[in-house]
């Protein structure tokens, strides 16, 4: 396979891994404030306690991979979206710190503050990710010099905001199913209700974004003309979405979670299809777009990194599997909990 295409796919895999894994713990963060009572909140936090940090490493590795494989895209995107990225950093830090520090003092005001900042930072981080995806879909004012020529307000169009809302709904749904798997008793009963509500919110936004994409982003479907087989993913996506309420209704939350993982993966795939072969689409002139060739590192580097990934990924898979296996089952509080 062409090394540039390999790296486009690889970054897609990393981003999908991130969206699936951190997606549920960010969604749990959104739901956190709806949970009442200190012990239940602690159960919610500890359901993701041992996992969130490893999940976030997928984003770090995605960032490193983008830097290495497509340095021009990394440089343009990160300097062009200076303020949004600074905000994202503040949210990610705030989230990590809230999780870590909440349990360290018993005072109610202390815990209430960290509960709020954890939930707000999680939700806003997802919103920013969604807005970023929306902007990437829509195209950006990128000049011939590969630099971003717009302002920060250009990023807040209606379409990106709609995609941002979809991202929040999707992670909330994904997180609520995860939480359902990890909880029991009365808390689980309440999570059951949240699963349904977030599913319908997701469904409505999913339809709205699909329609808006077809109307507003014509280049999003170009790749389907080249590879009609990709329509299979669209069909699978619809089936996965449909299977979520079915599995919830049948009392099979494990299947619902698998389905929502598939939904997240499929949406990431469609995002990749809409972009390919571009990384950043220029709305000024298509020839200014940064694609997987004009933004790439040298073939030598792409080859070296492919070797690194082939050596490293089996280990990553093994660690991830180990951690998820060790911390399987319902969340219990013990002396090491948050």
């Amino acid at each position: 396979m062409d090394l540039n295409i390999f790296w486009f796919v690889m970054l897609g895999v990393l981003l999908t891994g991130y969206a699936i894994l951190d997606g549920f713990d960010l969604g749990v963060g959104t739901l956190h404030l709806f949970v009442k009572g200190d012990r239940e909140r602690r159960i919610v936090l500890n359901s993701i306690g041992p996992l969130w940090d490893g999940n976030e490493v997928w984003l770090v590795t995605f960032g490193g991979g983008l830097f290495a494989a497509f340095p021009h895209a990394y440089a343009t995107a990160f300097s062009g979206f200076y303020l949004p990225f600074m905000l994202l950093l503040a949210f990610l830090m705030g989230r990590a710190v809230s999780l870590e520090f909440r349990s360290k003092q018993p005072a109610p005001w202390w815990r209430a503050y960290w509960d709020f900042s954890f939930s707000a930072a999680s939700t806003l981080a997802v919103l920013l990710f969604g807005v970023a995806v929306g902007n990437a879909m829509q195209g950006l004012p990128i000049g011939a010099d590969k630099e971003y020529a717009g302002s920060v307000f250009d990023l807040l169009g209606p379409y990106p905001l709609l995609v941002g809302a979809l991202a929040v709904a999707m992670c909330t749904m994904h997180g609520s199913i995860f939480l359902y798997l990890k909880t029991e008793g009365a808390l689980q009963q309440r999570v059951h209700g949240w699963m349904w509500r977030s599913f319908f919110a997701f469904l409505a936004l999913y339809v709205a974004v699909s329609v808006a994409t077809l109307l507003l982003v014509p280049h999003a479907t170009q790749s389907f003309e080249r590879w009609p087989a990709a329509w299979i993913v669209v069909v699978l996506n619809v089936l996965a979405v449909a299977n979520i309420p079915r599995a919830i209704h049948l009392g099979r939350p494990g299947y619902a979670f698998v389905s929502s993982c598939c939904t997240v993966a499929a949406l990431n795939f469609l995002f990749g299809m809409a972009l390919f072969p571009n990384l950043l689409v220029s709305s000024l002139d298509p020839s200014f777009s940064l694609d997987i060739y004009n933004a790439a590192a040298s073939q030598k580097t792409l080859g070296i990194m492919r070797t690194i990934v082939f050596i490293g990924l089996p280990f990553v898979a093994a660690y991830t599997a180990t951690v998820y296996w060790v911390f399987r089952g319902k969340t219990k509080l013990d002396e090491t909990s948050y």
Binding site: G37, R39, G49, P50, D53, G54, E56, T61, G63, G64, G65, F67, A68, P71, H72, Y74, A75, A77, F78, S79, Y82, L83, F85, M86, L88, L89, M93, A96, V97, E100, F101, S103, K104, Q105, A107, P108, E147, A149, G185, A186, A297, S298, K300, T301, I304, M305, I308, V309, F315, V316, Y319, T322, V323, F327, K332, L333, D334, E335, T336, S337
Partner: protein
């Protein structure tokens, strides 16, 4: 203010804040491995208590380190876009390797180390601890390799010209093993080990002085002392070797470190201290050992050492900051050797734990490695100026073209506020953990299993009656929990009892 200076200030702020934490995790990681290793070998519960205690501190430190580290990764792109385009091909592969090989290792196994005490076997837990330590060191490997490449570029060629020029890899292993990377990596790792060891000694010395957890603290202090003494001696050899490399690869940097302005015919003097004046090109109030610089740099007291006059003024690094931070680092290094050797001597004579003034000195000595690690990096980075990639790319050419100065100011203020808060929080939590201290988990007392059962049953009860007791529950910790209960996981009795009474 101009954008270059602001961007540099921001980078200095964020990297120096970040660098408070990784060296501590590297050093504390080894202390954890050694302490838990003794527990696994001997079954002595006191080592287990200590290992658990260090683990808690490690976890909090790691969290702040990760939070501030994500900033660093993004900041290359946000503030230094031109630099990112220039080095992306070289630097990126090291960064990707760091993510794949180190971060996943460390964060994955840290979950097992922190949350897995009751869930996995003793040996598997120990294995996880070793992996976490290795992960913390691997993270250092790749980032130091990337930074060393900026000091002594190798294995690359330049493609394109002017603003579009960039470095591309020709030979991956020549890039990884560039002339300075091994020296610098060893130095950085030893610096981290010293910081962790001094940290553990500081805590243990304080317990000894306050007569708390005395038996644990003696054992903890001994482990830290051996690590600190060995690493303090080793780092001198490492530093000397590194300085000899710098003499060859970055002569302007060495000259700035030493305040060496004019190339002499014979041997160059070594300033022990002084105030270099770049305008007058001399060291004010300096005390120098004749010919010592030549002896140290070349192993020959009469061989001339290249001075700053060999470089045109625009290519000279700032002398004052390089000189002072370098000298501070070396001075502190000497202090570590003196302190640890004295403590070893007293330990051998059996008088260490009674020598209160020395224990007090160790309580505060933890500041030393923190300062010297920071000073060492200031020297390394300021001494490389005006280049961001030595000889290839100037710092002033490396910044993002599209980011206006106001936005940089805004983000500096934001990071300043967040970091101050983070630092205060970290110190606060650290203090409460140290005040709380390690806990013995005796086999008879069964504190661990008992609390697990307690937690599980409380959970069960909560499942039936929680809605009725929401308010009581949120209020309970305030009335019942003292500072000591702050990080105790099992629910306090006042939380679970009222719910139990509701049971039919």
């Amino acid at each position: 203010m101009d954008a270059v200076l602001l961007a540099r200030l921001q980078f200095a702020l964020t990297i120096m804040f970040h660098y408070l934490f990784p060296p501590l995790t590297i050093g504390l990681g080894l202390i954890m491995v050694l302490t838990e290793g003794r527990f696994v070998r001997t079954g002595d519960r006191r080592y287990e208590a200590l290992a658990r205690f260090w683990t808690k501190i490690y976890a909090v430190t790691f969290a702040v380190g990760v939070a501030s580290g994500i900033v660093m990764e993004f900041e290359f792109g946000t503030n230094w876009a031109t630099y990112s385009r220039f080095v992306g091909d070289v630097f990126g592969s090291a960064l990707a390797a760091e993510g794949v090989f180190a971060f996943f290792l460390e964060s994955g196994f840290l979950a097992v180390v922190v949350f897995g005490w009751g869930r996995v076997s003793r040996r598997l837990h120990y294995f996880a601890t070793v992996m976490v330590w290795l992960g913390s060191m691997f993270s250092a490997v790749w980032i130091v390799v990337a930074n060393s490449w900026q000091q002594t570029p190798a294995g690359y060629h330049i493609v394109g010209t002017g603003a579009a020029a960039r470095a591309e890899i020709l030979d991956f292993w020549a890039m990884v093993f560039n002339p300075s990377s091994v020296d610098r990596l060893v130095h950085v790792l030893l610096g981290g080990l010293i910081q962790g060891a001094f940290f553990s000694m500081s805590v243990c010395a304080w317990y000894l002085l306050k007569r708390r957890h005395v038996e644990l603290a003696k054992r903890g202090f001994d482990i830290g002392l051996v690590v600190a003494a060995l690493c303090s001696l080793a780092i001198v050899a490492s530093g000397h070797h590194q300085a000899q490399t710098v003499t060859v690869t970055q002569p302007a940097k060495l000259a700035a470190f030493e305040g060496h302005f004019r190339t002499l015919d014979g041997g160059a003097p070594l300033y022990l201290f002084g105030f270099p004046d770049a305008e007058a090109e001399q060291v004010e109030l300096g005390v120098a050992v004749p010919k010592a610089l030549s002896l140290l740099a070349h192993g020959d007291p009469n061989q001339p050492v290249t001075a700053l006059d060999q470089f045109p003024p625009p290519d000279r690094p700032p002398v004052g900051l390089s000189f002072q931070s370098y000298h501070l680092m070396v001075l502190l290094g000497g202090l570590f050797i003196g302190l640890t050797l004295l403590a070893l001597l007293l330990r051998w004579r059996g008088r260490l734990y009674q020598t209160r003034w020395l224990l007090w000195a160790f309580v505060f000595a933890v500041v030393g490695p923190i300062v010297s690690n920071q000073a060492g990096w200031i020297a390394a980075e300021v001494g490389r100026q005006p280049w961001v990639v030595y000889g290839l790319l100037r710092t002033s050419d490396a910044i993002s073209q599209t980011v206006p100065a106001e936005q940089i100011v805004g983000s500096i203020v934001m990071f300043g506020v967040i970091y101050l808060g983070l630092l205060a929080l970290w110190l606060f939590v650290l203090n409460s953990k140290i005040q709380h201290g390690p806990e013995l988990h005796t086999a008879a007392g069964g504190e661990g299993p008992a609390s697990l059962i307690g937690a599980a049953s409380a959970l069960h009860e909560a499942g039936h009656s929680l809605t009725a007791t929401d308010d009581a529950e949120t209020d309970a910790p305030e009335t019942s929990g003292g500072a000591d209960d702050a990080d105790r996981a099992p629910p306090t009795p006042s939380e679970s009892v009222p719910e139990g009474e509701d049971e039919p």
